[in-house]
């Protein structure tokens, strides 16, 4: 029996309860999502096309609880104070389990034209925006999310507004029981708007098994620019299935950097499509995995309009028995003339038992294009290691410097300097074997209790 059935059964029995706590715009999608899932024999497993490392069937099989009655968990927005990025400060809000929690003062601090609110609130204020989803509805992660979603985060930046500080959303789990949280973050960038969004995924507890079923929707209007940074630093009891979906209008620029520093098992999908000419897409990703962690990034970039650019760079450093995969697909449709697409995946296997699968693919139905892809998997440069040791740098330190250097190319894609330096510091801490969580993050101190 497939893992899907328990979710279908739950919905059949409790549809009324789920819908009662959610806005009409979200309820309107549930039947279609139900039909998508009902039609699947099972969720994808390793070996299915495009699934080289993570099995969604196994990830969704345990009987996690789902908080369909919207029980309130204690959440203290003051915790966010400790998480402020040094020298930058952020506009921060939280997702605790599956609920949006904001400090009372946030709305007052936000500059004119910038809104950060719950999806429930947004459904009343911007019903059309919430009703119109850009996520791929036939996708099993999206369908599970749409079936169960009751709340989320809505971010809107008005026309030509440039937000100087990052908008930070910190997601945590704090239940003593296992929990599956359906989370959705919707970002609407009006024409000419510019912003930086930083997502931090830290469960606050490792007392129980958690699964985050997450969908991020991004709409970029003409000339809008979004820098989107996503840090996952969770525990060996946390899993994540994530779909990031973006729709870009003419001359918009999307720059993403996703960093996985710890998890039990994570699959991140990126679906990007262009709706106007001249759009730019930069997808960056970094994975540092050890133990028996499993991490998978899959990209689907569709060039359907002329003169758009896409650049993908995903780098992995795999230790111990970890297993990583990169599945990248770039599609260039016949009308997408003068497309310029590049996809790069580079991987380091730092242990003989670590494993990496790379599946780069290009489908090109247009002659007037530049498109390239490349994937390499190798070990640390032995000659460089010996050179560094000869100069007195101990081997462990030399290895760390080489891995930091390897990852630097991805960090360089973070345009916001304080965020880049903070994440660089966390990557370094992770490589030194420490928990990567920010040293002044109060979530971390709670986690260690």
């Amino acid at each position: 029996m497939s893992a899907i059935n328990q979710y279908l059964d739950l919905y059949r029995q409790h549809a009324a309860v789920i819908c009662r706590h959610a806005p009409a715009a979200l309820n309107a999608r549930r039947e279609a999502a139900f039909r998508v899932l009902e039609a699947l024999p099972r969720l994808p497993k390793v070996g299915d096309e495009g699934f080289e490392a993570v099995s969604l069937e196994d990830m969704f099989a345990p009987d996690y609880g789902i908080n369909i009655t919207r029980r309130q968990f204690d959440a203290n927005p003051a915790e966010l104070q400790g998480c402020d990025l040094p020298n930058a400060g952020t506009f921060a809000a939280m997702v605790v389990n599956d609920a949006f929690v904001a400090d009372d003062k946030l709305a007052g601090r936000l500059p004119a034209g910038v809104e950060v609110m719950s999806l429930i609130h947004a459904a009343a204020k911007y019903p059309d925006a919430v009703a119109h989803s850009v996520a791929p509805e036939a996708n099993p992660i999206t369908a599970l999310n749409s079936l169960l979603l009751q709340d989320g985060v809505y971010i809107r930046v008005a026309r030509n507004v440039v937000v100087d500080k990052p908008i930070q959303i910190l997601s945590t789990f704090n239940t003593s029981e296992p929990l599956l949280a359906a989370r959705r973050i919707v970002v609407d960038m009006e024409p000419g708007a510019q912003a930086t969004v930083l997502l931090c995924d830290h469960p606050r507890s490792r007392q129980a098994d958690y699964l985050s079923c997450r969908v991020v929707e991004v709409r970029l209007a003409e000339n809008a620019k979004l820098d989107f940074y996503d840090l996952e630093e969770s525990t060996d009891r946390s899993r994540r299935a994530s779909v990031f979906a973006a729709e870009q209008q003419a001359y918009s620029v999307l720059n993403t950097v996703g960093i996985t520093l710890s998890t039990a098992s994570t699959r991140n999908e990126f679906h990007v499509s262009h709706r106007g000419p001249g759009a730019e897409t930069h997808l960056g990703g970094m994975v540092i995995a050890g133990g028996s962690e499993v991490v998978d990034n899959a990209t689907f970039v569709e060039h359907s309009t002329p003169r758009c650019t896409s650049r993908q760079l995903f780098k992995y450093a795999m230790f111990d028995q970890s297993h990583g995969a990169f599945e990248g697909l770039v599609t260039v449709l016949p009308q997408a003339v003068f497309t310029d697409a590049q996809q790069t995946n580079r991987n380091l296997l730092a242990s003989p038992t670590a494993k990496m699968n790379a599946m780069p693919q290009l489908i090109i139905d247009c002659d007037e294009v530049k498109a390239s892809h490349g994937a390499t998997t190798g070990q640390l440069d032995e000659a460089a290691l010996f050179y560094m040791q000869q100069r007195g740098i101990p081997q462990a330190e030399a290895r760390m410097m080489l891995i930091n250097a390897f990852m630097d190319e991805v960090l360089q894609r973070i345009n916001h300097e304080p965020v880049r330096e903070r994440l660089r510091h966390l990557v370094d801490r992770r490589l030194r074997g420490c928990s990567a969580v920010c040293s002044n993050c109060s979530i971390d101190s709670l986690r260690k209790q």
């Binding site: 440069d381 010996f386 050179y387 560094m388 040791q389 100069r391 007195g392 740098i393 330190e397 080489l402």
Partner: protein, 256 residues
């Protein structure tokens, strides 16, 4: 010169995988001395420098090397470095993404830690870099770049001598430091090495040609052939090799 022995190599055998390259090396080096090791291609010159520095590619099968009283061959490469052994690489390695500054800071502070000293302050470190750069006329611009990345052949070799100046080794092995150098770069590199010479340190110059020895005057010249030192002499031996080539040595050894 004093009579202490800095490096004593005794009947050293080593190779790669199952192939034996060094077949019984004996060598005694005292502080203040410069030894040139010359020999035809494939005689084992680079293997000897690699084995002494601890390159994991090579396996020592028998023999010993004592470095100011320590069993050199039992030390990790980084500890050999801390104890004062420096290898100037024939092919200095490019390390993209690791800046020269971070590389040297890590090296200097690792050595200080080994001797239970506090790390250098940022100011002292920069001052040290500035002083040592002057010895080989190394451009400040190179310091902000990744290690050896995009350096010309001459810049790479000067960078090696710069690192040697910073680390102040007791024994420096210059492995084919003259290869790929034009005459100006050769002069700068050699003058750097000469400035660093004193009565307490020693240098092994590994070279195929006499050219470098015009600038760095050796006290002893050894000829390595088929993994053994087959001939030792004074500086005049290098001149003789320059004139007569290696064939007479090969004939003598092969006919024995």
């Amino acid at each position: 010169m004093n009579n202490d022995i800095l490096l004593q190599v005794t009947d050293l055998h080593a190779g790669i995988e199952s192939r034996e390259i060094l077949r019984g090396i004996n060598l005694t080096i005292r502080p203040g001395e410069v030894h040139a090791i010359m020999g035809p291609n494939g005689s084992g010159k680079s293997t000897l420098s690699g084995v002494l520095a601890g390159d994991p590619h090579y396996h020592v099968t028998s023999g010993s090397a004592t470095f100011h009283g320590l069993d050199l061959l039992s030390l990790a490469p980084e500890d050999r470095s801390h104890e004062g052994l420096f290898l100037s690489f024939q092919y200095p390695v490019e390390i993209p993404g690791v800046s020269m500054v971070n590389f040297m800071r890590a090296a200097v502070n690792a050595k200080r830690k080994y001797f239970n000293q506090e790390p250098l302050t940022a100011g002292d470190f920069l001052k040290l870099m500035r002083q040592k750069r002057a010895i080989v006329e190394l451009d400040n611009k190179l310091a902000s770049r990744s290690v050896n990345e995009g350096f010309s052949g001459g810049e790479k070799k000067r960078n090696e001598i710069f690192q040697m100046a910073v680390l102040e080794p007791q024994l420096s092995i210059l492995d084919e430091t003259d290869s790929g150098l034009d005459i100006d770069a050769l002069r700068i590199v050699a003058s750097g090495v000469n400035k660093l010479r004193n009565d307490n340190n020693a240098t092994i110059v590994i070279t195929h040609y006499q050219r470098l020895l015009d600038y760095i005057r050796p006290d002893f010249v050894h000829i390595l052939y088929k993994g053994r030192i087959v001939y030792s002499g004074g500086p005049e031996l290098a001149l003789e090799l320059e004139e007569r080539g290696y064939d007479w040595i090969k004939e003598q050894v092969d006919n024995q």
